[in-house]
């Protein structure tokens, strides 16, 4: 049985391409990457990152001082773009604060606060600084808590953390809780920010690239880590409100390995199949796939097998990681919103930096931007623990 579609009535995003949706759209259309050589804190790593400018100069308002950390700063900076916070206030007026659900994905939340606290700890006693407040910063629930309070929401809330699929799964969770009658509308989103844990952690796994990433390229050799935040409002579809539609979602696991995808992409294919089934659509209905496309040799190879097995080798595909880097817990929302931009503005962004496509891969990878009338697009997100999510969006009627 197909699900009842929801309408995305407003959205905003902030990432290495800039603040607000227009900055992302401009960069996607002009093929301008947001990646820069790594200059985060004192990281001594030869890699590129997708860093959001200006966070250092954007403290939280005094009333939210206990939530102060890079991750919540990024969340707030994003909420203040595109009139998003104002639209939430209107939504509260319409539905009531207790009837709007909040669904936020993050992978590392404000772990940067803990990294800093350890560096400042007392060298004799190991004691951490007195003003270190992990409940409001590091904790996975922190961004959900902060956003709920910042926007004055009083409904159900869910903090999801499944690594790099976290902020894709928020769409599925919101759809289910609306169907269950727990809320009438939903704010979904995600936020993840740069930290040393992910830079050095992915480095330890030998998964970061010394150059700008190049998904599906023969010479791809790893990811670039980025940061970002994105938020969207989901409301029941009515003929009188425009907006792209959430048509389907699929969630699965690999049951294979903690940090290596299933080599045949079984779990990924299952997620895509479920998304199609929930939308009541066939493989021929997909006009474009925004790939997870991290640019590691094994991730792209597994996703390639999954896409070809599910959709064949003629559906246009690309990865936008070359623009933003891999925003990890924010990748799901970042790329879901890119997919909406592609639907709305009728274009396919060709994978940036992908020059020589790996001949062992078969999916149809677009390398240049081109206009295209898109009716339905898929957005893939896959994370550690073999956690997969695929989202299916349709154009505004």
């Amino acid at each position: 049985m197909p699900i009842t579609p929801l309408t995305i009535t407003h959205f905003t995003q902030t990432n290495a391409l800039g603040k607000g949706v227009q900055a992302s759209l401009n960069a996607l259309q002009s093929r301008r990457s947001g990646l820069t050589p790594c200059d985060f804190e004192d990281a001594q790593l030869e890699t590129w990152i997708g860093r959001v400018a200006g966070l250092e100069e954007s403290p939280l308002p005094e009333a939210f001082a206990e939530f102060e950390c890079r991750n919540n700063r990024l969340a707030r900076l994003a909420l203040e773009q595109d009139g998003f916070a104002g639209r939430v206030a209107e939504l509260i007026g319409h539905y009531g604060a207790a009837r709007i659900g909040l669904f936020i994905g993050t992978s590392t939340s404000g772990i940067r606060a803990t990294e800093t606290a350890y560096r400042q700890r007392d060298r004799d006693t190991d004691r951490l600084p007195d003003d270190y407040l992990p409940s409001h910063t590091h904790n996975i629930f922190s961004p959900t808590w902060f956003i709920r309070r910042y926007l004055g929401l009083e409904g159900p809330a869910l903090a999801i953390s499944t690594a790099c699929s976290s902020s894709a799964k928020v769409f599925a969770a919101a759809h289910r809780q609306i169907e269950a009658g727990l809320c009438d509308a939903a704010l979904v989103g995600g936020v993840d920010s740069l930290c040393l844990t992910t830079l050095y952690g992915f480095n330890a796994l030998d998964l970061i690239s010394a150059s700008p990433c190049r998904p599906w390229d023969l010479h791809r050799d790893g990811i670039n880590i980025g940061e970002g935040a994105g938020f969207a409002l989901l409301e029941p579809s009515r003929t009188d409100i425009p907006g792209e539609r959430l048509l389907g979602y699929g969630e699965s696991c690999d049951a294979f390995h903690m940090s290596t995808p299933h080599p045949e992409g079984q779990g990924a294919a299952l997620a895509m199949r479920q998304a199609l089934e929930r939308a009541g659509l066939g493989t021929q209905d997909i006009d474009y796939v925004n790939l997870h496309g991290t640019s590691t040799p094994s991730n792209d190879a597994a996703e390639d097998k999954a896409v070809v097995a599910m959709l064949g080798d003629q559906v246009p595909c690309s990865s936008t990681k070359g623009w933003t880097g891999h925003t990890l817990g924010a990748a799901g929302i970042t790329e879901a919103l890119f997919a909406l931009l592609c639907l709305r503005h009728g274009f396919i962004p060709g994978s940036l930096q992908t020059r020589e496509i790996d001949p062992s891969l078969q999916a149809r990878i677009e390398r240049e931007n081109r206009p295209a009338r898109l009716n339905q697009v898929l957005s893939n997100s896959f994370g550690f623990g073999g956690n997969n999510c695929s989202l299916l969006f349709g154009r505004s009627p």
Partner: protein, 264 residues
């Protein structure tokens, strides 16, 4: 919300080592003696996998093993994992490494540091490719997980395995995060009223008012307040006693989860 049924319960905590023992203690048939936990050694993982895990992962898996029995090694259950803090032993190790020369972060620690690590290992052990989510909501972590598990069970019309866990936090993180006792519970929830193995039926609803349900036994109340996953204890006690009750669990600031429980 439509009712959900508890099919099986697993538990792993000091003095509550398995549902059989917990049932005795929680129903008042035996005294609560909060001894330390036996060594955690979840057999559901192959020894080489188990070596790569942490105490937090082992604790969560041990509760699943208790709840599902041999089925833990082969199933295709949808799973919902919930934990307030995740794996603070690993965070401690990573942050110490980041503060050392050369910053030697262990790749295994890093991939185990994701909040969904226990879910990942449990899924690998079971060979399950079904959907899995991992949540956190501070003191409301259990309620958040229970609500989401019920929602998912009804959306899929399939059983859902809910796993709530938190492991003691090491010094110096234990100063701001004072969790001192391990606690994990695994509840298999179903929407199927006809199955003959149900332990209890739950009706859930959100409430703006509520007085948090407590444990009568002083030691169990200490445990309930110590560990976010132990906020489940009032429910487990009612089920163990085969009684009927309306309970209030902490969920979110300004919002409670009311749970009506009846025996089946």
């Amino acid at each position: 919300m439509k009712p959900v049924y508890i099919q099986t319960i697993g538990i792993m905590a000091p003095g509550l080592v398995g549902w059989e023992q917990a049932q005795q203690v929680l129903s008042g048939s035996g005294p609560y003696q909060p001894d330390s936990l036996p060594a955690l050694k979840p057999e559901m993982l192959k020894p080489n996998e188990r070596r790569r895990t942490s105490n937090t992962i082992k604790l969560a898996l041990q509760s699943i093993q208790d709840g599902l029995g041999t089925r833990c090694k082969k199933h295709d259950l949808i799973t919902v994992f919930t934990s307030s803090e995740g794996d603070m032993e690993i965070v401690d190790k990573i942050c110490r490494a980041l503060d050392s020369p050369e910053r030697p972060v262990s790749p295994t620690h890093f991939h185990n540091s994701v909040h969904n690590a226990p879910a990942g290992y449990a899924g690998i052990a079971a060979g399950s490719q079904s959907a899995s989510t991992s949540l956190a909501a501070r003191a409301g972590s259990f309620a958040s997980g229970l609500l989401e598990a019920a929602v998912q069970a009804w959306a899929a019309r399939q059983p859902v395995l809910l796993v709530a866990y938190d492991y003691p936090v090491p010094y110096p993180l234990s100063v701001p995060i004072p969790i001192t006792r391990p606690f994990a519970t695994a509840l298999l929830l179903s929407v199927d009223a006809d199955a003959d193995t149900q332990l209890a039926v739950l009706n859930l609803r959100l409430a703006q008012q509520g007085v948090e349900s407590r444990m009568q036994d002083a030691e169990l109340e200490v445990l309930r307040l110590d560990n976010p996953a132990a906020r489940s204890l009032p429910i487990l006690q009612v089920v163990a006693s085969g009684s009927q009750a309306e309970l209030s669990l902490p969920y979110l600031p300004g919002l409670h989860l009311t749970v009506e429980i009846s025996p089946c």
